[in-house]
Structures are given as structure tokens and as C-alpha cells.
């Protein structure tokens, strides 16, 4: 279905990444947002709180991030599309109810505009050090989807994909921006509403008596009933059966948890998205994401001028990780180079998938700024030797 025109600010704009992200959410049909102020993400909810009253949306500033996250899980169960926005310290607080969202299979989007960490770290400066937290942050086994935009335009475009993926697979989707993308102002083109494809909430057409809230369809995703439609369903963060009733047994756990994981892992090919450039015949492949992908362009150009055949994989969907693709590449190239604004996170995935067939070189950055392209170039040259 097409987007609701009320939420789409069609036209060419000069927006920062945070504003573009907010516009993306509204265009995607988000009509409930709960948030708590935190630098450098707050502009997203500032944008939303200014525009929501004109499109039938409700924004509430909650007392903390625990509450914000709980509120969006709750609101999503009314069928309303929901968003919350935060940065590192708030992301840590949200982990509890991100787990609840995964367990209850609740579609929603969480934006994390990453800053330097750990703890309060560098509130106004960039980082990419929450990537593994996005994968493993909440306790227990689960799989989510995480995206990483590299520009304000992508903050808009990918936000729509984020909402669509959350509806498709009934999972919280994490939108892993970074401070640079969030605060960078660029041209953002917002298309007309009828050119924006929206995945609506997949409401069940079964009558209340026959509906089972956690009976999975062929793709492992159950149908949805929203609160107030007479289904009188029960949902819980406890291990539950198809009726949504708690069942404290290893058997029920064995049935539920693998399904939560398989609905993502079985669909990696459909979910996965990355830009690929010149990897055919490359000696070195750069694996990168977010703002670092843009910084790396210069390092790549420098290395190419010195005759190195460099390819690039830019991760757009970061989680699930495109394992098979990296495995396939590993046997054809000399080395992967992974620049990221942390001291080694996504590089662990690359290294795991390379399985020793290709060398994996990290170009670390502790945060607070972006890489010097020369460092990336040097790493590529080292890898090509």
C-alpha cells in the first residue's frame, strides 16, 4: 500500500540526518513516538513532536528510556506504528524492552544515533561502538534487524525500509545512525506519497474464536491482532505457546526461541542489503557502513591510484550480517579491510566469515571523530602486499 500523504513532506529539502530520519518515520506511517532527550538524537523527536499534531500522531516525552521503550511496545499492540529514538546510554536502558519486543514479536523501530562511549562518553561526538550491542544487547537468544544509513537522504529512505521490515517480520528494527550522519545537513529529496511503498500491519482475518496469536505462518511470522478488536489475546514476555499463554518448559522454549531466530535467519537473503562495488577481481575488499563508508571513499581512491584493486561492500542492513556473501568473497581475495569507529566490532563478523581464507585487517578509531583517509589507504596497501 501507499504512504499516508499527511505524513509525507514531498519535495527537496536541506535537512540534517536526524530531521530526515524523523521525516522518514512519519512518511512510513509512524503515528506514535515516545522518547527521552539525549544528544545527539533529540532532533529526531523535536521534528516529530512539531509535525505529529497535524497528522493524527501522538508524541510523548517519557520519564526515561525504559519507559519510552515500554510505551512503544505497548502502543504497537494497538496497531499503531511506533518509534523511539535514543543514543548510547539510552540504548542501554532500552535493552530490557527491546527483548520484550523480540519476545512478544512487536513491530517497532528504535533509532540509535551513536556517540562515543562507553558510559556517558562523548555525547556530542560520533561513534560506531554500539554495533555489537545492537546484535547482543538484550539477554537471551533472539535476532533483530539493524540498518545503518550513511547520509541524510538514506536516513529518510532507510527509515521507510526499517518500518517495512519490522512489519514484515514482526521484530523491533534498530536504526543505527551515528552522530556524523545525524548532524550532517544535506539535500534530502522526499518523493510523493504515492511513490512510497508501505507494508501495513498484517492483521489477521480469522475470527476471535479461531485466532491464535503466536501460530506462525509459513514464513515463521504469526498474524497480528490489535488490542481493542475483540480478540482478547494474551501476550507475555514469558516463554509462551501458540495461545500466548506462559508455559514453563524446555519443550516450549525449544519450539519458540528457534522460531524467533529462524524467521530472520531463514530470510537473510530477503532482508540483507549492501552496496557492492568492484569486488570482482579485487585483491582487497573494504567492508564498511555508516559515516565510515563515506570517509573510506577517499582512502580507497588513494589506494587505487597506487594500483591496488579495491572492492567495497557497504553494509546497509548490518544485522543480519551477510555471512554467505563474505564467505564466498573470502576465497577469492587476499584480505578484508574493516574501518569502523570502534576498536573492533563488525570486524569480528568479517573475520568469522572469512574463516582464515582471507586476512582481516581492522582500521580502528576510538571515537570522537572519523578516520583519517590516509590510515584507511595504508591499511589497504598493507593488505594488498
Amino acid at each position: 500500500m501507499k504512504a499516508d500523504p499527511a505524513g509525507v513532506l514531498t519535495g527537496a529539502h536541506y535537512l540534517d540526518g536526524d530531521f530526515a530520519c524523523g521525516e522518514g518515520a512519519m512518511a512510513a506511517g509512524c503515528r506514535f513516538t515516545a522518547g527521552y532527550p539525549i544528544t545527539p538524537s533529540t532532533e529526531v523527536v523535536e521534528r516529530i513532536s512539531r509535525r505529529f499534531p497535524m497528522m493524527g500522531g501522538t508524541f510523548i516525552q517519557m520519564e526515561d528510556e525504559l519507559a519510552s521503550m515500554a510505551a512503544v511496545v505497548g502502543a504497537s499492540w494497538t496497531g499503531t506504528k511506533c518509534l523511539t529514538v535514543t543514543s548510547g546510554p539510552g540504548f542501554s536502558l532500552m535493552m530490557e524492552n527491546i527483548g520484550l519486543g523480540a519476545m512478544m514479536e512487536t513491530p517497532l523501530v528504535v533509532v540509535n544515533v551513536q556517540r562515543g562511549g562507553p558510559s556517558t562518553g562523548l555525547p556530542t561526538m560520533t561513534g560506531q561502538a554500539d554495533m555489537m550491542q545492537a546484535r547482543w544487547g538484550s539477554h537471551g537468544d533472539y535476532r533483530l534487524i539493524a540498518l545503518s544509513p550513511q547520509s541524510p537522504q538514506e536516513s529518510f529512505d532507510l527509515m521507510i525500509d526499517a518500518f517495512n521490515l519490522s512489519e514484515e517480520y514482526r521484530v523491533p528494527v534498530l536504526f543505527m545512525m551515528d552522530e556524523c550522519v545525524g548532524h550532517m545537513t544535506e539535500k534530502v529529496v522526499i518523493p510523493p506519497a504515492d511513490e512510497i511503498e508501505i507494508v501495513p500491519r498484517k492483521l489477521t482475518d480469522k475470527p476471535p474464536g479461531e485466532f491464535l496469536p503466536y501460530k506462525a505462518n509459513g514464513n515463521g511470522v504469526p498474524e497480528f491482532a490489535r488490542a481493542g478488536d475483540g480478540y482478547r489475546f494474551h501476550t507475555t514476555g514469558l516463554t509462551h505457546d501458540e495461545r500466548g499463554y506462559p508455559v514453563m518448559s524446555a519443550e516450549c522454549q525449544e519450539e519458540l526461541i528457534p522460531r524467533l531466530i529462524n524467521k530472520i535467519t531463514d530470510n537473510v537473503d530477503k532482508i540483507s542489503r549492501f552496496d557492492e562495488e568492484n569486488t570482482d577481481g579485487a585483491d582487497v575488499v573494504l567492508v564498511t557502513y555508516g559515516i565510515t563508508a563515506r570517509v573510506a571513499r577517499m582512502g580507497i581512491d588513494m589506494a587505487r591510484k597506487k594500483g591496488v584493486k579495491v572492492g567495497v561492500i557497504r553494509l546497509i542492513v548490518v544485522w543480519p550480517f551477510p555471512e554467505q556473501h563474505i564467505r564466498d568473497l573470502a576465497s577469492k581475495i587476499k584480505a578484508f579491510v574493516v574501518p569502523e569507529i570502534n576498536l573492533g566490532q563488525m570486524v569480528l563478523e568479517v573475520e568469522r566469515c572469512a574463516g582464515g581464507k582471507a586476512e582481516t585487517i581492522l582500521v580502528p578509531h576510538a571515537g570522537g571523530g572519523v578516520h583519517n583517509p590516509q590510515d584507511i589507504c595504508d591499511a589497504i596497501l598493507r593488505a594488498a602486499k
Partner: protein, 298 residues
Amino acid sequence: MSVTIEEVEAAAQKHPVAPYLRMDRMPHIWCPTCGIGTVMKCYAQALEEADVDMDKAAIVSGIGCTGRVAGYMNLDAFHSTHGRAIPFATGVKLGRPELLVTVFSGDGDLSGIGGNHFIHAARRNMDLLVILVNNFIYGMTGGQNAPTTPLTAKSSTMPFGNFEEPFNLPHLAASCGAVYVARWTCLHTRRLTKSFQEAIDRRGFRFIEVIAPCSTLYARLNRLGSGFDLMRFYHDSAEIKHGADPKEVGIDFQDKIICGKFIDEDRPAMHERMDAHYKKVLGDKYVPMPPEGGWLHE
């Protein structure tokens, strides 16, 4: 005449409360002489007497013994995370404003780990009916000290007696702006039901504390007998004082329990205030969220 019924399933369906409960989930998990079941029965009775549209009512619980109530009520029911029932319910209410949303949870859940959410929901007069069952202890985890454990009462983490001041919950709720504040014990079934019914018909943050016995832990650790003995104690020690100053209704160990309706005011709920404000400042540009929820269809 009397009937002793052997056919449990069939009989359970005939129980007058059956339409309000998930009878397929009975028997519930609560211990013998626990009072939570009684409070739940009173709530179900109030739903009936207030003629609530069950399809438009949602119930949210946190974690703990009372946290299991959501799982037994035949409504759209959410068993959320520990302490987060109020913000979760806030989302449900704002996501679909036409719903009657009840938060039903325990003292540890709502006033301990969820204390911050409690005071803020009261402050902003969120349109929630909050039912807090207070058994003075963390029951499900084994009798640890709660923010409501009376001074000198023993708990498994205060084995020599509690030396921390407990919360006076009606005072807390009232001072944060709750529009309806009442306290009953689970012995006061009629008054409690009437109070639930009254609160269902109000709007805004409505808070009802219900004192209930925990025989397995609170009574045992404090050598107070069984829940039955606690019910007898409520009978002797509960004093009904409508309109009492909430500041004066703190509970001391095995001392009198002041019950009654302390606060009953009429103030617009958060979402009503939001609507009125936006209508005033934005005029025709304002598009309120439809009662049935945010944009869903073309």
C-alpha cells in the same frame, strides 16, 4: 440446597465470573490463602457492574505474583516486564485512546522497580486505572524486602527486621497528582468492588491500593499465621475513614490499616488536555489521533 461439583471444567464455566476470566488457565498459581484471587474477582465483578465493553478494555501487568493477573483476565492482556506496566499501558492508551486500560500489579513492581513510572504517570494524569495489590513483600522471588515492608517486619533480605521507612502509597499517589486514591483490604470485597466500579467511571490516573495477605512469605517470616489469620487481622484492624488525609494513612507493622476513599477529583486526563491544548493553539490544523488508533489503512 447445595451442589458439590465434580465436573470441574463444566462447573467452572458456570461460575458467574467465567465470562471475565480465562477459565482454561485455572487453577491459578497463587498460594492457598493468598488474597490476589479475591482482588481479581472484585475487579471482574466491577467490570460487570460498570457494564464495561470487554472488547474495549485492556489490562497490563508487570512481573510478580500480582503480575499474573493480566494472564487470567479475559481481556486484551499484556504481561510486560518488571516495573514497566505503567509505561507499557501508557503506550496502549495513547495508541488507541478509546480503550479502558487497567494496570494491575504488585507493590514491588509498581512502587519499587517501577516507582519512577508511577509518579510520572500520576503527575501527567495518564488515563489509567492502577490497581496495586500490596502484600508488603516480594512474594514470587522469595520474600525479599519491598518498598512497602513496614518498619520492623522481617523479610528474607531483612532477616533482623526492616529498618527502612516504607512508602505510604496513597500519599505518594496523591502528592503526585492522582485524581482518585483509595485503599481497601481484600476483605472489603463489596467496598472494593464499588471502588473499582467508581474508578472505572472516572478519568485520569486512578489509584487503588489493596492490602492482601501473603501467607507463604510475609505471614510465615513474621510468624503471623496463615493468610486466614491476616484476614482476621484486617477485620480487627482496618478502619474506614473516607476523606482521610493521605499523609496520615501510613501503615505500621501489624497496626491499624486506614481504608477508604481519600481523593476523588475531576481533572482532565493527559490525552484530553493534549487535545484541548492543540485545538486551542493549532486550530483547524490539528488532527487528533483517531480513537481507534494511529493511521493504519489507506
